[in-house]
Symmetry: C2
Subunit: 468 residues, 2 copies
């Protein structure tokens, strides 16, 4: 019996898509990666995923897992391969408020996870612009970060357990609900962030956190990025480590936002080069309960701290959100980043991280060196300043792949000099493979290759991704 | 040239110990594990560690890394093998207060790390009783936990980067200072917690945290462990998640402490079955700065909360430390646990974790079932109640290894029924290998074996440990 027939038997005819039915899955949202899969498979259970992998390993057929298709690096491209989507595995199996855990299938959409936690007065903290379409499986396979890693950590830090279907079809049950478990090697964190090259994550135990009762959110203009770090440490101190977001937006980002988003308004009367959006979350009633005069303590705390620094001249200007609408407006500005980056083409998307105190050096160095080879090049930058993660998107002056790669190399040079990473939170996929080859420690690449060969000897799990 | 001569050439004659010179390294502190190594090697640098491993892999000689020798599971036993100690690699290379990172060699003693951070007004949060002798390398190789995982996480969560010498002698440089780095597989977390079976960790980049300006510490007597969880969640809420320790000590533990520690005093006038030591750390000046009447806000907060609960009858009694001496006394009581566990022999040491809301069930079930086979058996229990980690030490009524193993099996049965772990924070070493065989998911064991075989094909890195 031929491969597709075996797959139809395993998961049902109507869930094996071929030809034009694959269209919706054949192209990523950036439009950069396009490829026709042999078929799109839509299993409904871990057992069906396992059955698919047994057939795939029998026949040595490559399988590429896809989640929300919101990735930026082509990690889910499946040219003439089997594309496996978990879009039918969307059950939130259990939420345990007392233990603050959620047990979910990997097809759950991130915003659905947010809603489910919210219904229990809790939060699943991980969030980013694409939350409306990104799925938990994709979040896990890329160890996604986002805007509040600063307080809650990245996906790894928010995951207690996972269930993985191995290339052989065997099911690896790591669905731990424990905060401490040192029984052998940390397999969980190996599969998290492996971008589907070692196995398919089908379910997870996620950590929930108490829902802040109030937020204090502000836009702040600063004289320098060093002063921004001083502000961050100061706010961490006064808030007892409750800073959730600390997002850098240069003047040109603000301009671009104003230009391309209807109804957008500037954050300040004057324009400034260095703009930061800061948010503090208060879980404690004494920080969140309004006083007689109606002021919320955590908001007052932020306001007072900013006032002092304005007087001291270390802050140039500051606007504190006075209501949820104003807060939303501040977040909307920041979360347009991905959309704004594609208003011009070609573009060189980078996602780098450097030590916290090296962000300014990176930006000045990279921009100066790129100007030397391309006077018209312009960068659209946003940064998670609190964790050193910079999304440095370059719009080159000329449309030439070789030129774009030279720009990427310049960025990598600076990152390497600062002991940073060329891949902070978007993962490697296809886009970053040349960088892996050029920049990753050779011994590390060798060890990764040994692990890949040991766990996927036939090289059928998302082959050709991540590892050069 | 014979093996020892080659080693002497590599690291210097006086740093290759043999015969009686090995005595200090031949026995673990519990006295349970004793074995004469072929030789003890004391390299001074990563290069020397690498040279040793090259010789070891040339000759197929097993190498066992040892750190502070404070482990409980025989993970550093090296019968007729090479025992490699990092006790000469104790440099704190750099502390970067602004980035809140420390770059250290793996031989640094934990308490030295504490002092170095303290000198910068910061803390390295990880702490436990053996901090005066435990070394960073051992802490990393067991992914040590301790008393404030609740707030700061375990060793993995406090580590940004590591340097590893592989079985081949190659040096794997993962010395990242980054908070986000998704460039390929998570090798760091694979070597952390591998107990030296995949490589030797020689250096690390550690996270530092702001030093609390004030602590509020109390002993609390409660009617039940469920009420204890209610207290924990309540304190997390009012403190905004600043609870650092929540340590359970049953009545019998208090008794045993009074009996064996000179000058020990009871926490309360009456004795209680359920005693908890709680500590809240305040980093914010507004929580830590004494008011006109001299009361420290965070202490008042704890006092008021406990008062309310005493009045509500959900807390039976409470004593809040009024000064550092009283705080130290509370910590001393808790940190005697390891010493107290060995005042009687034989003993069955267990280190289990269960979901937060299952601790009471575990204790009643385990104790009842053990009583059925051993009426004289007694347990000395302490638990990190905030993370579900229970140190349940049993003093059996009869000195018979088979009987002790039956007790271990009963504990494991209960743990398995509650979806807990038989190994929470002490690691596996030799002691927990039977448990790994009996209780660990078979597929997980298989994958671990594949990784071990891929990274250490000659099986020379701490062979015979961790994996059955």
């Amino acid at each position: 019996m031929d491969l597709l027939d075996r797959l139809r038997d395993a998961i049902g005819e109507k869930y094996v898509l071929t030809g034009n039915d694959c269209a919706a899955y054949a192209r990523d949202w950036t439009g950069k990666y396009e490829a026709q899969p042999m078929a799109v498979l839509r299993p409904a259970s871990t057992a069906e995923v396992s059955a698919i992998m047994k057939i795939a390993s029998d026949t040595g057929t490559p399988v590429v897992p896809i989640a929300g298709n919101t990735g930026l690096n082509g990690g889910a491209q499946a040219p003439d391969q089997l594309l496996l989507t978990l879009d039918r595995m969307t059950a939130i199996r259990e939420i345990r408020p007392k233990a603050r855990t959620a047990i979910v299938e990997a097809g759950v959409i991130l915003s659905q996870m947010h809603d489910a936690a919210d219904a229990e007065g809790l939060i699943f903290p991980l969030t980013f612009g694409a939350r409306g379409s990104a799925r938990i499986g994709g979040v896990l396979s890329t160890n996604a970060g986002g805007s509040n890693v600063l307080r809650y950590g990245n996906t790894r830090a928010l995951t207690l357990g996972i269930e993985v279907v191995l290339p052989s079809g065997e099911v690896l049950d790591l669905m731990s609900e424990l905060h401490k478990d040192n029984s052998g090697y940390d397999l969980r964190d190996l599969f998290i962030g492996a971008e589907g090259t070692l196995g398919i994550i089908t379910a997870a135990v996620l950590k929930l956190a108490p829902k802040p009762r109030a937020y204090a959110t502000a836009m702040v203009a600063l004289p320098s990025l060093d002063e921004a770090l001083v502000l961050l440490n100061r706010l961490q101190e006064v808030s007892g480590g409750a800073v959730e977001a600390f997002e850098y937006m240069p003047g040109f980002y603000i301009e671009t936002h104003l230009e391309h988003v209807e109804g957008a308004r500037p954050p300040f009367e004057q324009t400034h080069d260095i703009n930061v959006m800061v948010e503090i979350g208060a879980t404690s009633p004494r920080d969140a309960t309004p006083g007689e005069d109606g002021t919320v303590p955590v908001v007052a705390m932020l306001q007072d701290t900013l006032m002092e620094m304005v007087e001291a001249g270390t802050v140039l200007d500051a606007v504190v959100a006075q209501n949820e609408a104003q807060r939303r407006e501040m977040w909307e500005r920041r979360e347009r980043a991905a959309e704004l980056s594609v208003v011009r083409r070609p573009l060189v998307i980078t996602d780098v991280a450097v030590p916290l105190d090296k962000v300014a050096t990176f930006l000045s160095e990279a921009t100066a060196r790129i100007a030397e080879i391309d006077a018209e090049a312009q960068d659209l930058t946003v940064a998670h300043l609190g964790d050193g993660n910079i999304h440095y998107v370059v719009w080159p002056g000329q449309d030439d792949p070789a030129h774009q790669d030279r720009i990427m190399e310049i960025v990598e040079d600076v990152v390497t000099e600062l002991r940073g990473s060329f891949s902070a939170e978007h993962g490697v996929g296809l886009a970053k493979k040349p960088s892996m080859q050029r920049r990753k420690d050779a011994t590390a690449l060798k060890v990764m290759g040994q692990i890949k060969a040991a766990l996927d000897p036939q090289d059928i799990m998302n082959p050709g991704k991540v590892l050069p």
